[in-house]
């Protein structure tokens, strides 16, 4: 049997690992005991408690008077106690997602996926889920600022308008520096602003851009665009360093497609094969069938070799292929066997590498089948070279003013310090940021924009795909939409962006559809649905080999010494949401580390140099804690960007190190790797908050797997042991009967990519508290659904498994019968219930749960200055879901299958006098899963999806040998390795 292991310690020395783990646990317990200090205090508390209780009781203390304040005039659409959902669009850090915002009594409290969108297709990412907390961030600006002091809009408007006019008259250039803007109406507003001030130049700058792809396509196709990658259509996917499931371009969309192309449930289902060439272990690499660790400098060489091999195989070329550091014959064969059904992508920002990728895709006939041009992606528009010109313009005083909107180059540009000085030295420097950041700190004027949940906007994430954003709460602070600000400065008296938006849509977009003749109806319909799609225009640009020859001959990057790969972490991406405690506490999907970035080093090197997890090394002088990463390519180190913010707010400040300093500008593009780095070991150590070894599964067949070819022969392959277990199951107790519903969930391990969206979605829905680094280190992370990650086989290049684990709602639950106060009984619908008000905190259930999904509130995490994250201020607590109890110290909590949602839908059905439909009830994790890996439903419904999945031969239960009869089923992991 395959040996699965969770960390290298466990792989190499299982006995010692176990002992160590027990020792750690004991240490933690002792530390707690020490604090408790014997029985005298308890005796004291007993007597003290009695006296106080007795006195309080007989003096009959009164409950405080609660007030009930009704609306003066109730808005028609608001029903107190019931939520409204408004369609909106998320676009931050170059990530687009169409969302539904749950608004309860005037407060947005949860983001859901919008199933009408063809882009995000009801999926979200952890970052989208967490964006609702950004709305209630203490670091947001409460008023406009002038050199750090509060000011008002009148002063700002009069000063800046004058200044802009003066600069215009002096013919001095002003740069409007924005991130990619996908809003067509905003573009119009900017155009009219430029009309008024011809000296204003609009420059786009993205922290992590797609310059390479854009410029390569400019050469190959004559237009700088990002085509529509259709992963669901590909039979062979080859990715060179593109983390398309985690952070690359439109990852939620790609995850949907990727999972759809690999879902095997019924006979005849097909599955794609995924090759990943990369240095560090990314989320995408962890899902690959074939993963090849390479150095970043080798990427172009390998692609060149692949290109030559394909050319040869097709008979277009007879020159011998150049040597490749890794063997790509297998890949070439697979690609050739699936011409027109394959997809090659690269995450490189180097135009020459991308030109070769284009050539390969063209050779394989992928354009028009897996790569389409009818809906190019708009989310990445910046060309890195443009911003470099701004820097030199500022340096030689050609540019006198900078207006920064949604950009933070002081933090995320390698020359941040220099840019800081240049911006603060400019005649006019304005930031439109809604919260603190490094660039805003350098600007003289801050004109805060509202959060996207407070604002009107539109979006055109792809050509022909439109969507709207609408306010879901009135502005919390004195902010003003940037569009209105710009128009105000352009001389409009009372600019109203909503009116402009509506007019623009009625004028320009209502003509794109034929359903509504009245443009107002069209507007209302789109606003309700959130999205609108025009017919795609089928203009296929012609491929030309422009620049290819040059790219192939340019020679390959010199490789010397250490190569450092900078990547965007799945949780924080480019670091713009660093002040979001939910994201900070979300463990990295591979390393399972939260609250820090770290240097992922290769296993072999670590062993040879005596480096372990938490050792500190220096990379070009920057001290970084080490995580020994199985699968890390030799001579490479991966470090996440997005950390090390200095002015992000109380949560994000000083978390990790800023690695943008190591990025470089090569070929006019920001390259996120460097070679020849100076790496030194030190004697220091640094504590990392690993959630990885929280939950020991004791080496049992927790993840069951099979290969596609074996599955085709026998769908139950890899799951043979289930039969055995089922035969052995006997019980003295009668089987429990569920008269109405029997709720259950299925997790398709073949589809789950491990992105962590479910954890954050659950956190938002169920008021799960953030506990901070120290407590995560103490193994007390509160997430109700965690994603366990296992490695198997070779430590140098392991197979990786992701397994979401939540309460299994066992019908023979071990936790239930050890509770001394019956706080956790079984419900008539198969739910393992948790009554907080009854729990006395013995933690017997926690100890008796074989799945370790129960969480104990060791502290009061709400309104406690010790845990100053989101729940310590009235503002932060506005995000709490009023339908879910906020747990206090001393009680156990766990996944409830989102019972509040079950109850809500049941109540709706009861009132309407109808049966519940299959799929009507969706827990938070299921609703927005970007891989559709989770399915929830009623087992008593013969025709339900869940019933079919539970009968699928891939289905098994965790630790089913214990006969706990879980209500959560797992479908075996299927990979598609070459036989």
């Amino acid at each position: 049997m395959t040996k699965y292991w969770r960390s290298l310690d466990e792989l190499n020395n299982p006995v010692e690992f176990k002992q160590n783990e027990i020792k750690l646990e004991l240490d933690a317990k002792r530390a707690v005991m020490k604090k408790a200090s014997g029985s005298s205090r308890r005796d004291f508390l007993k007597t003290f408690g009695f006296s106080v209780a007795a006195a309080a009781v007989v003096a009959s203390c009164k409950r405080p008077v609660d007030k009930a304040i009704p609306y003066l005039v109730k808005p028609e659409e608001v029903t107190p106690g019931m939520a409204n959902y408004y369609a909106s669009s998320y676009f931050e850090a170059n990530e687009y997602c169409s969302v539904l915002v749950k608004v309860r009594d005037g407060r947005p409290i949860k983001i859901e996926g919008n199933d009408l969108s063809s882009v995000s297709q009801k999926g979200t990412s952890a970052r989208v889920q967490a964006s609702v907390l950004d709305l209630y961030d203490d670091a947001r600006f409460k008023t406009p600022l002038k050199r750090g002091e509060a000011t008002n809009w009148e002063e700002i408007d009069s000063y800046i308008t004058k200044k802009l006019e003066q600069l215009n008259n002096d013919q001095k250039k002003v740069v409007l520096l924005t991130s990619s803007i996908i809003s067509p109406t905003t573009k119009k507003v900017i155009a009219s602003f430029q009309e008024k001030y011809p000296n204003v130049e609009w420059v786009k700058y993205d922290a992590v851009s797609a310059s390479g792809i854009l410029e390569a396509n400019q050469q190959s196709f004559g237009t700088a665009l990002i085509p529509d990658y259709r992963f669901e259509r590909a039979k062979v996917i080859a990715s060179f360093g593109a983390d398309f499931l985690g952070t690359w371009l439109s990852s939620t969309e790609y995850t949907k497609g990727y999972a759809a192309g690999r879902r095997v449930l019924d006979k005849g289902d097909e599955m794609s094969r995924h090759y990943q060439f990369e240095s560090g272990m990314t989320l995408t690499g962890s899902n690959a069938d074939v993963r090849v660790p390479i150095k970043p400098s080798e990427e172009k060489t390998i692609l060149t070799a692949l290109y030559y091999q394909l050319m040869q195989a097709k008979g277009f070329m007879t020159i011998a292929a150049p040597d490749s550091p890794v063997d790509v014959k297998g890949l070439a064969e697979d690609l050739l066997a699936n011409e027109g059904k394959s997809l090659v992508v690269s995450g490189s920002n180097d135009v020459n590498t991308q030109l070769i990728v284009n050539a390969i895709n063209n050779l394989l006939g992928n354009y028009g089948s897996t790569i389409l041009f009818d809906r190019p992606l708009n989310t990445h528009q910046a060309i890195d070279a443009d911003f470099e010109k701004v820097i030199s313009g500022l340096k030689n005083k050609e540019i006198a003013g900078v207006l920064c909107w949604g950009v933070n180059p002081v933090y995320n540009h390698p020359n941040g310090e220099e840019i800081k000085a240049l911006i603060s030295g400019a005649e006019l420097s304005v930031s439109f940021s809604d919260r603190k950041d490094e660039t805003t700190a350098a600007c003289h004027w801050v004109c805060p924009a509202p959060h996207y949940l407070e604002a009107w906007n539109d979006a055109k994430p792809k050509k022909g795909v439109f969507s709207l954003s609408q306010p879901t709460i009135s502005k919390l602070f004195d902010s003003r939409q940037v569009q209105e600000t710009l128009l105000k400065w352009a001389g409009e008296e009372q600019p109203n962006y909503y009116e402009i938006l509506k007019a623009n849509w009625e004028e320009n977009f209502s003509g794109l559809q034929s359903k509504y003749s009245d443009s107002r109806l069209f507007w209302n319909d789109t606003l309700q649905k959130g999205v609108f799609e025009a017919e795609p225009t089928a203009e296929v640009p012609v491929y030309s080999e422009n620049g290819l020859e040059n790219a192939l001959q340019l020679g390959n990057s010199e490789s010397q010494g250490w190569e450092i790969v900078l990547y965007q972490s799945v949780a924080l991406k480019d670091g713009s949401s660093a002040n979001n405690p939910w994201l900070q506490e979300l463990p990295d999907p591979i390393a399972k580390i939260s609250w820090d970035n770290f240097a992922a080093v290769p296993v072999k090197w670590a062993e040879e140099n005596g480096v372990q997890n938490e050792s500190v090394i220096t990379i070009n002088g920057i001290e970084m804690p080490v995580f020994v990463q199985p699968g890390q390519a030799p001579d490479t180190i991966s470090v996440a960007l997005g950390y090390g913010r200095e002015t992000a707010g109380k949560v994000g400040d000083g978390i990790g190190k800023n690695m943008y300093a190591l990025a470089s500008i090569k070929n006019n593009a920001k390259q996120l790797w460097l070679s020849g780095a100076d790496v030194k070991t030190t004697d220091k150590t640094y504590e990392l908050a690993l959630s990885q070894t929280h939950h020991s599964m004791e080496g049992r067949p927790i993840v069951r797997e099979t290969n596609f070819d074996k599955w085709q022969l026998d769908p139950a392959s890899g799951n043979e042991i289930r039969k055995e277990h089922l035969e052995h199951h006997v019980s003295l107790y009668p089987e429990q009967e569920f008269k109405g519903h029997h709720w259950a969930m299925a997790v398709d391990l073949g589809s789950c990519v491990g992105c962590g969206n479910c954890s954050i979605s659950c956190q938002a829905e169920n008021n799960v508290q953030v506990i901070g680094k120290e407590q995560v280190r103490n193994r007390r992370i509160m997430h109700w659904i965690r994603v366990d990650r296992y490695f198997s086989n070779d430590a140098e290049n392991p197979d990786v498994y992701h397994q979401p684990v939540m309460c299994q709602h066992c019908d023979n639950a071990p936790c239930e019968n050890v509770c001394p106060v019956s706080a956790t009984p079984h419900s008539e619908e198969g739910l393992n219930q948790m009554a907080y008000n009854r729990c006395v905190g013995t933690k017997y259930c926690v100890n008796n749960c074989p799945y370790k999904v129960r969480r104990f509130n060791w502290f009061q995490y709400v309104q406690n200055p010790e845990f100053d994250y989101a729940s310590n201020s009235d503002l932060g607590r506005m995000v709490l879901n009023p339908d879910v109890t906020v747990r206090s110290r001393g009680v156990v909590e766990k996944c409830s299958f989102c019972v509040q949602r079950i109850q809500e839908k049941k109540a709706e059905a009861k009132v309407a006098g109808r049966m519940l439909e299959d799929g009507e009830v969706q827990p938070a994790c299921v609703q927005s899963c970007p891989a559709n890996a989770l399915v929830f439903g009623d087992l008593n419904d013969e025709n339900s999806k869940i019933n079919k999945l539970f009968k699928n031969e891939r289905n098994y239960h965790l630790l089913e040998e214990l006969h706990t009869l879980p209500s959560v089923g797992y479908l075996t992991k299927v990979r598609n390795k070459k036989a």
């Binding site: 006296s51 006195a55 203390c61 609306y71 219930q833 409830s896 009861k910």
Partner: protein, 386 residues
């Protein structure tokens, strides 16, 4: 660490004293809460004598030879348990504190409205006197209603029982004067038992507010609205059938009727004027919430009223007879659970229950004749607690 030092070995000895101290402190604190009195605030240009004189006049001590009833005989100064339809002194004080004397005078001397015209008759009050009344009331608006002194019968009894216990213990161990040992023993056990009983009954009542009937900012009578005028509950509590909360009517809903009805049979114009004022000037009416479930309880009106078709009165009592709204049921968990055990589900007529195939079969075969709410899981913890 500091804790460590403090909880040293001397704990046991001091334990009893600390407990005693805590006990006494708690009692003192709880009484002190009520005892804070406010200083009188004399508005500018008026002396303390004016206030005093006004007070005497209001209370009917002045003038001696009046032929009309005193102000206080209709407008109560303190909180009263029974319903007084007339505006209280505080109500009047608040209404006129920001208004000039003339409007006050006009309203007292030349009332409009049936109720006031009938009661404010033969008023022979000099302007001087009336001015002092206004000064007194203005002052009253600032000082507020003197808080009701809490009664501590329970506490006194509890302490007395404690004394008895102490005496009995001392008698039994040290004095030993009484020959019949069982007398102090019985007293000891009896007193202690009584104390425990007091604590237990009071502890069970903690957080429960049966018969809670606070003074509302407006003397809104359910009896007048639901009883005498027969308005359906749902007319005002509009969301009871769809939402978890029944909904307290928005002020604009009140104005549906009160746009025309400006004078009540009982309260005259005064109370309705508050609603009109709130609606016109955009104040919120801050009702005192009567039915307060703890935060960890989820209760849905929709399920009980919309689907369960329960009568509102079943939980809220004879609302149509209540001038002052009060909490009828104790809203305890036992009360909920018992009702779930006894209440039959409308099994045949609601399509939702088609999910319960087996129970339907049993019904058909006659194995069971009805399905109670508890049979389909109404008493599961996570029906209400999540």
């Amino acid at each position: 660490m500091r804790e460590h030092f403090f909880w040293g070995g001397f704990m046991k000895k001091t334990q009893i004293f600390i407990s005693l101290f805590a006990f006494v402190t708690c009692i003192l604190l709880s009484t002190n809460l009520y005892a804070d009195s406010s200083e009188s605030v004399v508005t500018e240009g008026h002396s303390h004598e004016d206030v005093k004189r006004g007070e005497r006049f209001f209370k009917g001590l002045l003038p001696f030879d009046r032929e009309y009833s005193s102000c206080v005989s209709c407008h109560n100064l303190n909180r009263v348990d029974t319903l007084n339809w007339n505006p209280s002194a505080m109500d009047i004080a608040i209404k006129y504190v920001d208004k000039d004397f003339e409007s006050f005078q006009a309203s007292v001397m030349n009332p409009v409205g049936v109720k006031m015209e009938a009661s404010h008759v033969n008023f022979d009050i000099s302007e001087e006197d009336l001015k002092t009344v206004k000064i007194y009331l203005d002052n009253f608006a600032h000082t507020g209603v003197p808080p009701a002194k809490p009664t501590h019968y329970n506490l006194i009894l509890f302490l007395f029982l404690g004394l008895l216990i102490t005496w009995a213990v001392v008698e039994l161990i040290f004095i030993r004067k009484i020959k019949l040992k069982f007398i102090p023993l019985i007293i000891l056990l009896g007193a202690f038992g009584w104390q425990v009983k007091m604590i237990v009954t009071d502890a069970i009542k903690l957080g429960r507010q049966e018969n809670y009937a606070p003074d509302q900012p407006i003397k809104f009578s359910h009896k007048v609205h639901a009883g005498e005028n027969g308005i359906d509950c749902i007319y005002c509590h509009t969301t009871a059938e769809q939402s978890k909360s029944a909904g307290i009517p928005a002020t604009n809903l009140c104005m549906n009727c009160h746009i025309l009805i400006r004078e009540g049979t009982n309260s005259g114009k005064f109370e309705i004027a508050k609603v009109v004022d709130a609606a016109e000037n955009g104040h919120s009416i801050e009702w005192k919430r009567i039915h307060n479930l703890p935060d960890h309880v989820y209760f849905s009106h929709a399920v009980h009223v919309g689907s369960g078709k329960l009568d509102c009165m079943q939980c809220h009592g004879p609302v149509e007879e209540m001038d002052i709204m009060e909490q009828h049921s104790d809203l305890s968990m036992g009360w909920c659970v018992n009702c779930h055990r006894d209440t039959e589900v409308d099994f045949g007529n609601n399509g939702y229950y088609e999910h319960y195939v087996k129970l339907h079969e049993e019904m058909k075969s006659g194995a069971i004749d009805s399905v109670k709410a508890a049979d389909i899981g109404a008493n599961d913890c996570m029906r209400c607690h999540y």
